[in-house]
Symmetry: C2
Subunit: 144 residues, 2 copies
C-alpha cells in the first residue's frame, strides 16, 4: 500500500469486526481510539494495536467528546446494535462533522434508514449471502 | 439464472442469514428444510419460503435423520455457534456423505479447524473487513 495521510479514526465497538479493523488501522500508523461499553471486549484487540481505548457508552456525547470526535477524520460504528450504530453515526456526521462516517448494519431491514441519512454502510449478512450465492452457482455449474 | 437441477437442501439455523438463504433457495424451486432449536427463529423466514421447518437441536443425529439428511445434496450450517456448525457439518459430511457441505464461521480464529477438515466456509466478519478495507482505500485515494 502506498504511503497515505495518517488519519484520526474512532471506532465504536470492540467485537471481532471492530477490534480487527482497529488493529489494521493502528498497524498502518493511523491514530485510533476504540470505544466500547464493555471493557472485556478490548481483549479482542490484536497485539499490533497501539491506539487508545475508552470504556464508555458512545451514545453519551460526553464520551464522544472525550474521544475528541470533533478532530476525527474517520468514524466507524461497528457495534452489533443497529440503533446504537445509527445514533452515533448521525451524531458524528451532523453534530461533529466527521468527514467519513461508516456504519455496520446488522439487520438488512434497517438499511433504508441508513441510506436515507446518507450514512455509508457495511452489512455483513448481505456480504455472506452474496458469497453463499456464488458458491451455490459454482456447484450448479459443476453439475451441468 | 439458467435452469438447474433441483436440490434437496438442509439449513441449520434460521437467523437472518439462514432464513434469507432458505427463502432464496425455496424461491428457486429447490426443496428446503430449515432446522432451528428455537421455533421463534422461523419468523425470520421470508414469505416466499415454501419449504419445511423442524424445531430441534441439529447436534442430535435423530433430528438430522428426521430431516432426511442422507438424501441431501446440500447442507449448510449457519448458526452463530461455531462448535455447532463444525459438529453438524462433520456429521453431514462424514456420516451421511452429503456431497456439498458449507459452514458459516463466526470467529475467524476457528477457520483453521474447518479447513483442516475440508469444510467449505463463509466467514461474514472477514467479508466485512474486506469491504471496510476497500472503502478506506477509496477514501485514501480521494485524499491524494
Amino acid at each position: 500500500m502506498s504511503k497515505r495521510k495518517s488519519w484520526y479514526a474512532i471506532l465504536i465497538g470492540s467485537g471481532r469486526f471492530g477490534a480487527r479493523l482497529a488493529g489494521k488501522l493502528s498497524n498502518e500508523d493511523h491514530s485510533v481510539v476504540v470505544i466500547d461499553k464493555n471493557e472485556s471486549k478490548f481483549e479482542n484487540l490484536p497485539l499490533e494495536y497501539t491506539g487508545f481505548t475508552i470504556q464508555g457508552d458512545a451514545t453519551d456525547i460526553e464520551v464522544l467528546k472525550a474521544a475528541k470526535v470533533q478532530k476525527a477524520d474517520l468514524f466507524l460504528a461497528l457495534t452489533d446494535d443497529d440503533n446504537t450504530n445509527f445514533f452515533v453515526s448521525q451524531v458524528a456526521k451532523v453534530i461533529f462533522h466527521v468527514p467519513h462516517v461508516i456504519s455496520r448494519v446488522y439487520d438488512p431491514a434497517n438499511l433504508p434508514l441508513f441510506h436515507e441519512y446518507k450514512i455509508e454502510t457495511i452489512t455483513p449478512v448481505l456480504l455472506a449471502l452474496s458469497t453463499a450465492n456464488r458458491m451455490l452457482e459454482k456447484i450448479a455449474e459443476e453439475e451441468k
